[in-house]
Symmetry: D2
Subunit: 346 residues, 4 copies
């Protein structure tokens, strides 16, 4: 794909509340776009914007299952089962000057949940409101019951990105799996390319759940949740399947795995990068296993959602000569540069 | 503790093979040392030095349970149950110019194991020999069945450090738990202070299982295993308990948690840093939970040993004014600097 | 509901192959029936009848995701979200004089799987063909590679029964969850009433995956799989929700729980019977917890499917005066008796 | 072993409180006995007899680690590593007319624990006192906060039986593992033979933690705890190892597995009976896997202790011609009959 800057197709889309989706699969596309299209999107926060501060308890103002809305889905022309959808994140900017985080009842890693059931009452439900300063690139935490305010770096990302699942399944957006979904990893930030295996015609990409920043594991169950103005470029890599979502940035190749227990998420993500490494470097699989064992990083995405997510990260500098997906990441980096240059011209 | 450089007591100890220990607990101390003592130690690799290359299969040359030997234990005077032993790593240097890594049968994350039992044959047992260049600070991987040699950075660390367990237990060195043990985290490198809760008089510190480098999770079950010349300073923090091993370096406070399934290791480590943060910053516990949720990192230590290990890492820059263990890390940094200065004088 | 024997509405339905369903949810009903209707159904086996003996390897003759077909769904009139669908199994009879069981690659408890991923090759794929003798009520095992044939008691059951899931989800029939699905418990045999929470109008009941018999846990991943001629009566319990599938027979009240890891399935099932016991006996919840702790049985359903299933069984004799769902089980027993009496008249 | 009734050696032993043990391993034997000896023992309850009713909260009256005391260890002459210790339970009788059960803080399946850590307060600590009627063979539950008293059948058993662990380990009695320990299965009742692999000279058998009855999983963390007068016969099966504790009664062969997560306990126990079945019936392993899949039962022991326990039970009637451990169970049954006959003579 070679794209002159004046050629880049751009679609701007801001969904009305009733146009938001709550599942991957089971929803008709809101738009059809050609590969190479830049999407300028607005996404809502995981509470649909209804939780604005300590007085808005999610369990009161939100209604199950209308949680974690996504923008989309987008039908990408030419994407067929067996292909890979490449989604390059050009820009992710908070659309509000505030965000919220909460202890949602029976949700989070340090509480009993609907799966890890106990007879204890839930943790108290609290809402923290953060100030977001887009110019200073800060997110400010204010303790609710203690004297502390603290500026943290803004590091915007999307918790939820995915496509329609295989086998005609329809899944709540809250659940990550092989189709993507609510992986809740801070690695999905601007500058990265996310690779998603295509299960249905057009792939049907949706995204949402923006976080102004997030710790690894999202231990309390929510990050600094906010609406986002997000720009992505979508592309199709024909004939190359992607069993589990993969991420590439300028320095790393990564695979995700989502499962319970958490070691199975680890296993999936590690298996995927071992096989990937063997392919990219033309290595015996056990040689690749050995190499990954000594150079890999392995942060968790979420340890709070219906399935947990782990990442296997390999520094590209230890993968000499490896070029993933035929150089798609570099190509989309270039499209993004052209797009940004054109934006600068306006 | 203020120590003039000429005052630093130093103990040099290189165990004979028959002096190595294979358990935490159940072994009499090899030495008694005063708090503030510098220990200059030799540690053997996890195979007792018997696996030197592809021809030495661990299952042939090693004999259960004589695996993962540790140097020690050291009785630190004045350490009593309820205190904390602080172990500052001054230096960790490979004692050989080679290391090995293997696929040990039924050990590792991408194989069935003695706990995750299957009817499949084990993965093939292979041994990779690495070159270690202490001057160039490199570890060189050589693929066994493919054409690849790759220089990786030397990053020496100890997989196994711990004290005698509580409740009169004796545990194989292979198992990490609240007493430390085989946590297999690359965070235990030179420059860090490891805090271990004391369960018995003298604490009874042992360490071993040096790795020239290791990926997160130690996915194949072994890192680049090698003997080490290691220098630590030991100290006692009186009256301060440490429920699970903690680590401090110049930039981070960390807690470990070791358990199965892996989410329980995550829960333990996160709970510990939440409580620790609340104490250090005088925060309400749920405020601390919220703060940790947005700033924490959470790499795995091992995902291959009899219990798995996760770390919860908090950047100190987000913990304004926090001073852990009364400034022990800074003090031991100073002792280390004096020690190194004196070494330079020789 | 009082039903005179001549009043019992009966629907007989044998689906054509193209009418089989592979998901819960996402499929329009094949029939609408009134509460109290007797359904005389044919169900296909989990391989769609394509695996007939050792020469028919499932990985060759079956095509993902066309596995584990179900008959249905049936829209039960008047069933609304918040109600409970009661499904009484009047009769389950093998429709063939043979059944099969297999080691399906990467499926089963003693093999690596798609979640518990390893680098080992899969177990060898084998097919065992059983003889089913409906008159003698036997199932005969023939070892493939050893000299053993063994008559076992016929104990027909359904591995898969469920309704459309909540939150607009569509799930593969292979996965058990709160909507039922592939729980694979031998407790779903003739004489029991299965209670399923209704999530959508009409409930949308489907069932399949008949087993001529099954061990607890279904350790190799498949039971003695066969087509079934099955008779159920369906009813609606208005205004009573059922969070997780429950089962009642003449001697036991049971709840299921499906999750990973297996202890979470145990937790869910136990929590449900504790709360249920507290309600039925008007007990304090901790008193109910105590009673359940001393009288409960807890067999696994499956320990091989995408989520695992545990059952919590309480002997009715230890629940004095408890009447579940207003006596629905006894009423449906009576309907079944009338139906059978009428059948005898023919 | 053939034993004339007048020949049966009998050892009667009732430990003083200070003679109780709290670990497997690390304790010198209290007695040396010959194979074939009948041991008439008193065991204390898991609280050391200190919890006698609702006013005695375990967290107040008990002191960690002085919980779950065992009687022993007994050195059985001639038992060497690689042998199996056979322990036949002749009689288990409550030594008191009361027992207790509790919600111990952070212990049990429906509460957060020290491994499954949450920020929630523990469940309220309560103590239920049961009446035990040895004549009527009943245990009577009295609800604490509700109006219910309920007679349940007396079904005495031992929660904790084991030997010294391998690899010089010493383990708290609370933890089940390959050496036995706190498996908490109701299958260890009078009439069964427990087989334990010998790891050290003499085996070093200990037992305790009597339960007047127990539900499967011991969901609240404690059964009806009481002191016991217990009679066992011990024997040694030379040259036959037992990797995980096995149980035989007149109807079943069983293996235990203890691990976390619970599916690993299931895997271990199932693997063991598959291999055992293959050996006993001279079957190919995959044929044995298939047979076990269709005839096995799989109740949990505990789902509340530091490791969880599952049992794999095979009905002997489906194992034609199988004789385990050379008929040891039948022989010990005979010894027990002689012993009882002699007792009747007195």
């Amino acid at each position: 794909m070679t794209i002159a800057s004046h050629d880049i197709p751009v679609l701007r889309y801001q969904p009305q509340p009733h146009e938001l989706a709550y599942t991957f699969g089971g929803v008709p596309p809101v738009h059809r776009v050609a590969p190479g299209t830049v999407l300028e999107l607005r996404t809502e926060d995981c509470f649909g914007g209804l939780v604005r501060g300590p007085g808005d308890l999610p369990s009161v103002v939100c209604e199950f299952p209308y949680l974690n809305p996504v923008t989309g889905p987008f039908h990408v022309e030419g994407a067929e089962p067996g292909d890979t959808l490449a989604v390059h994140f050009v820009d992710i900017q908070p659309a509000r000057d505030w965000g919220v985080s909460t202890t949602f009842p029976h949700f989070g890693a340090l509480t009993s949940t609907h799966a890890t059931v106990t007879l204890q009452p839930p943790l108290e439900e609290l809402v923290w409101r953060y100030d977001i300063d887009r110019q200073r690139r800060t997110v400010t935490f204010h303790a609710l019951r203690s004297e502390l305010s603290l500026e943290l770096p803004l590091d915007p990302m999307h918790g939820t990105v995915g496509v329609a699942p295989a086998a005609a399944e329809v899944r709540m957006t809250i659940t990550p799996d092989a189709h993507g979904g609510n992986m809740d990893t801070p690695e999905v930030r601007a500058g990265v390319t996310l690779y998603l295996g295509v299960n249905v015609e057009g792939g049907l990409l949706s995204l949402g759940d923006g976080h102004a920043r997030q710790g690894e594991g999202e231990v309390c169950g929510t990050a600094v949740e906010t609406a986002m103005d997000t720009v992505v470029v979508v592309d199709v890599v024909k004939g190359v399947p992607t069993p589990w979502p993969r991420i590439e940035d300028d320095d790393y190749l990564m695979s995700t795995g989502s499962a319970r227990p958490l070691e199975d998420a680890y296993r999936i993500s590690q298996y995927e990068v071992v096989i990937w490494t063997a392919q990219l470097l033309d290595l015996d699989v056990l040689d690749a296993y050995q190499l990954v064992s000594q150079v890999g990083e392995a942060p968790p995405g979420n340890v709070c959602d219906p399935t947990y997510t782990m990442l296997a990260k390999l520094p590209k500098k230890y993968l000499p000569g490896a070029e993933a997906y035929g150089g798609t990441h570099a190509q989309l980096r270039e499209v993004a540069a052209h797009y940004r240059a054109r934006q600068g011209d306006r």
